[in-house]
């Protein structure tokens, strides 16, 4: 057994550090920085059935220790992904989690079926919680029953591990997570962004063309940690934590709280090697203490 390795459902990851969807492109912009295959895995930008141009500018703005984004799920579409991006990633030995979203169960199924035809996809992550497009699924994400249905539908058409990404805006997020577990999810990913807003008071105008945007970054971490703790106490499948991870310390905070792995999002922007730094830091941490990552999981509970 390796020191850093973890298992998520049937899937073994060489370490518990992935990159978060939408914060790492398709993993192909990092050649100048490091070998992305060294990560536990990457989550792709959210893939839809058809390509999407995304929202008009402004799409991003900064807030205290965080940022808002309203990208609007701009993406190349699942077809172009399979054709242009996946082969390169597969070739390089990158563990690829395909983050997908749709506004109907039928489309979730269709995207999954397209991915079924490829090798090199390690898991599908269902984004039922994107706050930035009206049809983007946040309504799925807030409702336990609907979330369970999406999960069950995808589950029934694929052998790939299915991860479901939670919306922190669900009134009862634990119920949503449990519904997904029951519907056959292999892991819960938590959390997606929370909708926020910002106004430029000098110009008396909203900073984002979409009005609201998803709130991410270090500021979000305490909320994400609480939710991860809650979910990890309520389900028996692994929880993959996201929200403001930028240092080894941050990753440990989530692991100790019960997460089996973490995803690094916004931190990639200031430092393209952020996720790699966390892998190295965890390795040093575990070597110094002669422990495995697995033994740390949930140890603060």
């Amino acid at each position: 057994m390796t020191r850093l390795g973890v298992e998520i459902g049937g899937l073994s990851l060489k370490n518990p550090v992935l990159t978060a969807s939408g914060c790492f492109g398709y993993g192909l912009e990092y050649d100048d920085f490091y070998d992305v295959a060294e990560l536990g895995g990457i989550c792709t930008k959210g893939l839809s059935l058809h390509p999407r141009a995304g929202n008009p500018p402004e799409r991003i703005c900064e807030t205290p220790a965080g940022m808002l984004n309203a990208i609007g799920l701009a993406n190349v579409g699942v077809e172009a992904f399979c054709r242009d991006k996946l082969p390169i990633l597969r070739e390089r030995g990158v563990t690829v989690v395909a983050n997908i979203f749709a506004s109907s169960i039928a489309d979730f199924v269709a995207i999954t079926e397209r991915l079924n035809r490829e090798t090199g996809v390690a898991a599908v992550e269902l984004n039922v919680s994107c706050p930035n497009v009206s049809e983007g699924g946040i309504e799925f994400g807030k409702d336990a029953r609907m979330c369970g249905e999406v999960t069950r539908a995808v589950r029934s058409v694929t052998k790939l591990p299915v991860w479901v990404k939670m919306s922190p805006e669900a009134g009862n997020i634990v119920a949503v997570a449990r519904a997904c577990e029951e519907a056959g999810a292999d892991a819960i990913t938590a959390i997606n962004t929370i909708r926020g807003m910002s106004i430029d008071v000098e110009q008396n105008k909203l900073r984002l063309a979409n009005r609201t945007g998803g709130f991410s970054g270090p500021a979000l971490r305490p909320i994400a940690l609480r939710i991860v703790w809650e979910i990890a106490g309520a389900v028996s499948i692994p929880v993959i934590a996201i929200g403001g991870v930028s240092t080894t310390r941050d990753a440990l905070e989530f692991l100790l709280a019960g997460a089996t792995a973490v995803q690094v999002g916004t931190a990639n922007f200031a430092d393209p090697s952020a996720a790699k730094r966390v892998v190295d830091g965890l390795r040093a941490h575990c070597e110094t203490r002669n422990v495995t990552v697995k033994s740390l999981i949930g140890s603060a509970r």
């Binding site: 912009e29 100048d32 991003i60 900064e62 965080g66 701009a74 110009q203 105008k205 922007f269």
Partner: protein
């Protein structure tokens, strides 16, 4: 001068070598880069104080003013990030991610270069002018405008490197008015324009060039989170109804690609969207 082979991007922590306060809200920050930066004119770097902690969170995009072992940037203090840059002391560490983006394309042999600068947009144009002059090219023409004489940082560099025309809205330096008031007279079939400045200025410059069929290259300014193509936060509307991403497909692009009437480059509209809610 600049070739199409772009240097590898690196994230480096560099000590501030010196900060020159050059009047008004402007400062030139020069860093100490033992390895040297191979940035080309028009490229930019994402700059952040290594000791800023969690806020401000994101690095700030800044055009290179010079590259090499003492890369420098020109900053205008407008918010929290540039405020901190504007009071940094020598020795303070900064992270610089760069060089990023598409540089200015190489000037077309046989055409005289006209640089049109507004405010801090002057930085990548000074870099370009220096490269042209050092490569032995014909002295560029430059038009440099601002609200008043105080808003023309690095005008002396430009004066040295180019045949410089200045405009100020209050008439405190050069011609009274805007750069676009005198640009028309300087355009011609043997000319080509490189411009960087406020959106509205660039849109107008692009329009004048299009009318006279003069090639025009603009350097786009949009908010950026990553600067290297992964966040998709920096779209600029194009004529096909789609977007180009300023950080990787720009910042320097042919002005004809940009749809100046859409998005952030159009008059601010965010606040005036229809009122339906939630």
């Amino acid at each position: 001068m600049s070739t199409r082979v772009l240097a590898k991007r690196r994230l480096v922590t560099l000590a501030l070598l010196r900060r020159e306060s050059i009047g008004g809200l402007y400062h030139v920050l020069t860093f100490e880069d033992p390895d040297g930066s191979a940035a080309q004119p028009g490229q930019f770097t994402m700059v952040r104080g290594a000791e800023w902690g969690d806020a401000p969170l994101l690095p700030r995009p800044m055009s290179y003013l010079t590259a090499g072992h003492a890369p420098s940037i020109l900053i205008k203090v407008i918010g929290e990030g540039t405020l901190r840059m504007g009071r940094a002391e020598p020795g303070e560490p900064f992270t610089l991610l760069g060089p990023l983006g598409e540089p200015w394309r190489a000037p077309t042999p046989g055409r005289r270069v006209v640089l049109v600068a507004g405010g801090v947009g002057v930085a990548p144009l000074v870099f370009l002018a220096r490269a042209i002059v050092e490569a032995g090219g014909p002295k560029p023409i430059a038009i440099y405008g601002g609200r008043s004489a105080r808003d023309l940082p690095l005008d002396d560099d430009l004066a040295e490197l180019t045949e410089l025309h200045t405009t100020t809205e209050d008439g405190s330096r050069g011609a009274r008015g805007r750069v676009t008031d005198i640009l028309g007279d300087l355009l011609g079939p043997d000319r080509e324009v490189f411009t960087c400045g406020p959106d509205r200025m660039m849109a107008k410059v692009a329009e004048l060039c299009a009318l006279r069929d003069v090639p025009c290259e603009v350097s786009l300014e949009t908010p950026m989170a990553c600067g290297y193509g992964v966040c998709l936060g920096c779209p600029v509307p194009t004529h096909d109804g789609a977007y180009l991403y300023a950080c990787t497909q720009g910042p320097c692009v042919d002005a004809r690609r940009v749809d100046w009437s859409r998005g952030d480059h159009a008059p601010k509209k965010g606040a005036h969207l229809p009122r339906s809610q939630t």
